[in-house]
């Protein structure tokens, strides 16, 4: 990360205007500099040309003197033996004389005076050259001695002096030129110094100002980019052209499990899974060679590898930094969560799809409009319409599937938003034309100006058939209830008549028999009186029978009202009544304390009265009679019992005990109508309980019953 700020600093941000301003200043400064250089150059060139010319003059002056002396030497040698080399010497002398003359003629004039005039000297030089040429003239003999003498004299005499003076004068001139040159050098130094100052003012001051601003901006940019880089939620990996990781941001550290230190310097391949890992080099090369962007600038989903070799799905986008060196930026987003969410969503969608497909109920979407059709249907719908293919059903206009045009009108009316979509039972037709009943419930959906109906559809033909049958059954049942009601009413009327009308004749029979006995006692003998007594007894017995039968029917009809009943107290009451009615008998009563039950008090009294009455009756011939009333076992759901040690009965006939008019004893032994136990059984059953009898002949009997503590136990006898 450290190198990174500098890297992103390559970016040019907002420096164009400043640069243009700087370039203008730069141009001005350069122009001034160029002018200055030209000025200096011009000045120097003049001076240097003059000085160079002076130097040549000085040189030539020196050379002239040397040549004169050389010519003198050559003349001397010509004048003296040996003579053998004279021709060569003559040639040399001739050449020298020529040069001296030529040099003198071309010698530049001195710019300044102080030297002897040239004209006078020219005569002397011409004389000397003449002499020299004369000496050099080819002869066989020795050189002209006088000419030689003149040459030597001139060379050591006035010519030499003049030439020397001339050299000296030139030297002075050269000294002066030297002084001028050092002045020039000093001037130039200051000039350059001035130019530099001007340059500084014109270029460097604005440049530095500009640079400071630019640096400020660049610092901002760097900070900006660094923050982006470091706080980006996505991993950012920067690689160079060889695919070596240069930068690795914190998000990338978390994403890949590599620390920035350990990742930087490695190949980016460590982050890739095959086949990308091996292909990556190829992508890079191709891009670098052809500029063809295969992966750059697009989002791609790939599999990345973490440091611990686990793989994660990621989305990458690659950018190129075209700086001094080219780099690639990879922005990597972890798709694990998104993938997981997507997968979860897919799973849910699949589940719903499965549900729709496997649902036994037809699910559909209808698009409303000019030609309404099914848009989506599940397999159940296809089955419903017996469609061979989905396309066959989707192609059918829906209105043709309705058997009843009214149904269709109702269904399509729901396309009006004011109408509420709801349940509708309609007659539809399968694709092969068979009519069936269907229950449609649909809801209206408006999407993008289109009206849809989403709903479910069920074949209810069977259900309708069943419900119709059920309705019939119900009607029958209701009729039967009415019938039963009527029958009950009739029965009641019958009972009433019986109670009233059957008793009246009996009363007459009894009453007039009694009247006969009273009023005509003297006319009826003892046998007649006995007969009349039998008539009376029979009528009274019949009255009792009627009474008991009425009781039995009342028990069945009476409304059952449950209240807490104290059976202990009730039993004592009944026992007292029995004891009072027949004072002569001695009976041991054992009535358990705290016998409580929730039952109809009137009916339960009937039960206890009948059972205790029976016990009382059947112990009448017992000397040590004993009657027990209790409960076994104690607690709820237990049986109440009435036990006696009386005549008992044969267990074989136990079931017959509870039948109407069933008697196990002869009337002459024990009185009774044979209805009492039937009444007991009815009352107990109406309370939802049961009654049982146990006994043996001459060993007593035990009658027990249960009264379940339930409200809904009012079960009428069939």
């Amino acid at each position: 990360m450290r190198q990174n700020g500098q890297r992103v600093g390559d970016t040019q941000l907002g420096s164009g205007r400043a640069l243009r301003r700087m370039n203008r200043a730069h141009g001005t400064a350069l122009a001034i500099l160029v002018l200055l250089v030209f000025a200096i150059h011009a000045t120097l060139a003049g001076r240097i040309a003059a000085i160079r010319s002076d130097a040549r003059s000085i040189n030539e002056a020196g050379l002239e003197r040397m040549r004169v002396q050389r010519a003198a030497l050559l003349a001397v040698r010509l004048a003296t033996p040996p003579a053998a080399d004279r021709p060569a010497l003559r040639a040399a002398l001739n050449r020298e004389a020529q040069r001296i003359w030529h040099a003198w003629q071309t010698l530049p004039a001195l710019r300044t005076g102080g030297v002897r005039r040239r004209g006078a000297l020219t005569a002397q030089v011409r004389q000397f050259v003449g002499w020299s040429l004369a000496v050099a003239a080819p002869t066989t003999g020795a050189a002209d001695a006088s000419a030689v003498r003149a040459i030597i004299d001139a060379a050591e005499g006035p010519l030499a002096v003049a030439l020397n003076q001339r050299v000296l004068a030139y030297q002075r001139l050269a000294d002066r030129d030297n002084g001028d040159l050092s002045d020039l050098a000093r001037d130039q130094f200051f000039l350059v110094l001035g130019a530099l100052a001007a340059l500084t003012l014109l270029i460097f001051v604005p440049l530095s100002r500009l640079t400071r601003a630019e640096i400020g901006k660049l610092t901002d940019v760097i900070a900006y980019n660094r923050t982006l880089f470091e706080s980006a939620p996505d991993g950012i990996v920067i690689i160079d052209e060889r695919g070596i990781i240069e930068s690795f941001n914190p998000a990338a550290e978390i994403l890949f499990g590599w620390s920035a230190e350990s990742a930087c310097g490695r190949s980016v391949g460590i982050l890739m899974a095959e086949p990308d890992r091996s292909r990556h080099g190829g992508y890079l090369e191709r891009y670098l060679a052809t500029g063809e962007r295969h992966v750059i600038g697009q989002l791609r989903e790939v599999t990345a590898v973490k440091r611990d070799n686990t793989t994660i799905p990621v989305e990458i986008s690659i950018g190129v930094i075209d700086g001094k060196r080219r780099r690639f930026v990879g922005i990597v987003r972890d798709l694990t969560a998104r993938k997981a969410a997507q997968e979860a969503l897919d799973a849910v969608r699949r589940r719903y799809q499965d549900l729709l497909i496997s649902l036994n109920v037809g699910v559909f979407r209808v698009v409303a409009g000019a030609s309404p059709r099914f848009l989506e249907v599940n397999p159940a719908i296809l089955a419903l319409f017996r469609a061979p293919t989905r396309a066959a059903l989707l192609a059918r206009p829906i209105d043709t599937l309705f058997d009843d045009k009214e149904d269709w009108a109702t269904f399509s009316r729901q396309w009006d938003p004011r109408e509420r979509a709801s349940n509708q039972e309609v007659r539809l037709r399968t694709l092969d034309g068979e009519v069936f009943w269907a229950l449609i419930s649909a809801v209206r959906k408006d999407e993008d100006g289109q009206i849809f109906f989403d709903g479910i559809m069920e074949d209810v033909s069977e259900r309708r058939k069943t419900s119709r049958a059920l309705a019939n059954l119900n009607r029958d049942l209701q009729k039967r209830v009415v019938d039963l009601d009527i029958a009950n009413k009739e029965l009641e009327a019958f009972s009433y008549s019986v109670s009233h009308d059957l008793r009246a004749p009996l009363r007459s029979i009894d009453g007039f028999s009694q009247a006969l006995l009273e009023d005509y006692a003297d006319k009826v003998d003892s046998v007649g009186r006995d007969y009349l007594a039998r008539v009376r007894a029979a009528s009274q017995r019949m009255a009792q029978l009627i009474e008991d039968l009425l009781q039995l029917s009342r028990v069945t009809r009476a409304q059952l009202v449950r209240k807490p009943v104290d059976i202990t107290a009730m039993s004592r009451d009944i026992a007292d009544a029995l004891q009072t009615g027949e004072t002569g008998r001695l009976i041991e009563w054992h009535i358990e304390e705290g016998l409580q039950v929730k039952a109809d008090p009137v009916l339960i009294r009937q039960v206890m009265a009948n059972l205790l009455g029976n016990a009382w009756k059947f112990t009448s011939k017992k000397a040590d009679a004993r009657i027990d009333v209790g409960r076994t076992p104690a607690g709820e759901g237990s049986r109440f019992f009435v036990r006696d040690n009386g005549a008992g009965f044969e267990m074989t006939y136990a079931d017959r005990l509870f039948g109407v008019f069933q008697r196990l004893h002869a009337s002459r032994d024990f009185e009774g109508t044979g209805i009492g136990l039937a009444i007991v059984q009815r009352i107990v059953r109406r309370h939802g309980g049961d009654v049982r009898a146990e006994g043996a002949v001459d060993a007593g009997a035990c009658f027990s019953f249960t009264i379940p503590d339930k409200e809904d136990s009012d079960v009428s006898e069939p």
């Binding site: 009972s495 009433y496 109670s499 009233h500 009308d501 008793r503 009246a504 004749p505 009996l506 009363r507 007459s508 009894d510 009453g511 007039f512 028999s513 009694q514 009247a515 009376r536 009528s539 009274q540 009255a543 009474e547 009425l550 009342r554 009476a558």
Partner: protein, 149 residues
Amino acid sequence: MSASPERCILLIEDNPDDEALTRRAFAKNKITNPVVVAHDGAEALEYLFDDSIHVAGASGLPILTLLDLKLPKIDGLTVLRRLRADPRTELLPVVILTSSGEQQDLVEGYGLGANSYIRKPVDFAQFMEAVRQLGLYWLVLNSPPPSVR
């Protein structure tokens, strides 16, 4: 407060046997009041609302009315209802004397303002005893209401 011998007993009874037995019981128990018999409900109402009775004053009304419930034409409970609805007879002592022991008859009878409810026993001895006590109570012990007096 002894019973005036002229005051009659109204017996509303359709069964001639019962009528005879009741008369016999009265006689046996030395109840000497004249007995007027109405053989159905209509006859009973006709008798009770006959103006001549009322013109005759309170003494024209029976000192005791014995009412059977099961009657031809107009049944006993309706007769009772009509009696109680009329200011002239609303306080008339009415004893229901019937064969019926039905719960609903008891409830309705008392509900309509019967003064007593007696079930005719089949046993004539018991019947005699009942009539004896009836006479003793209603004709001797009981003070009749003012309008009937």
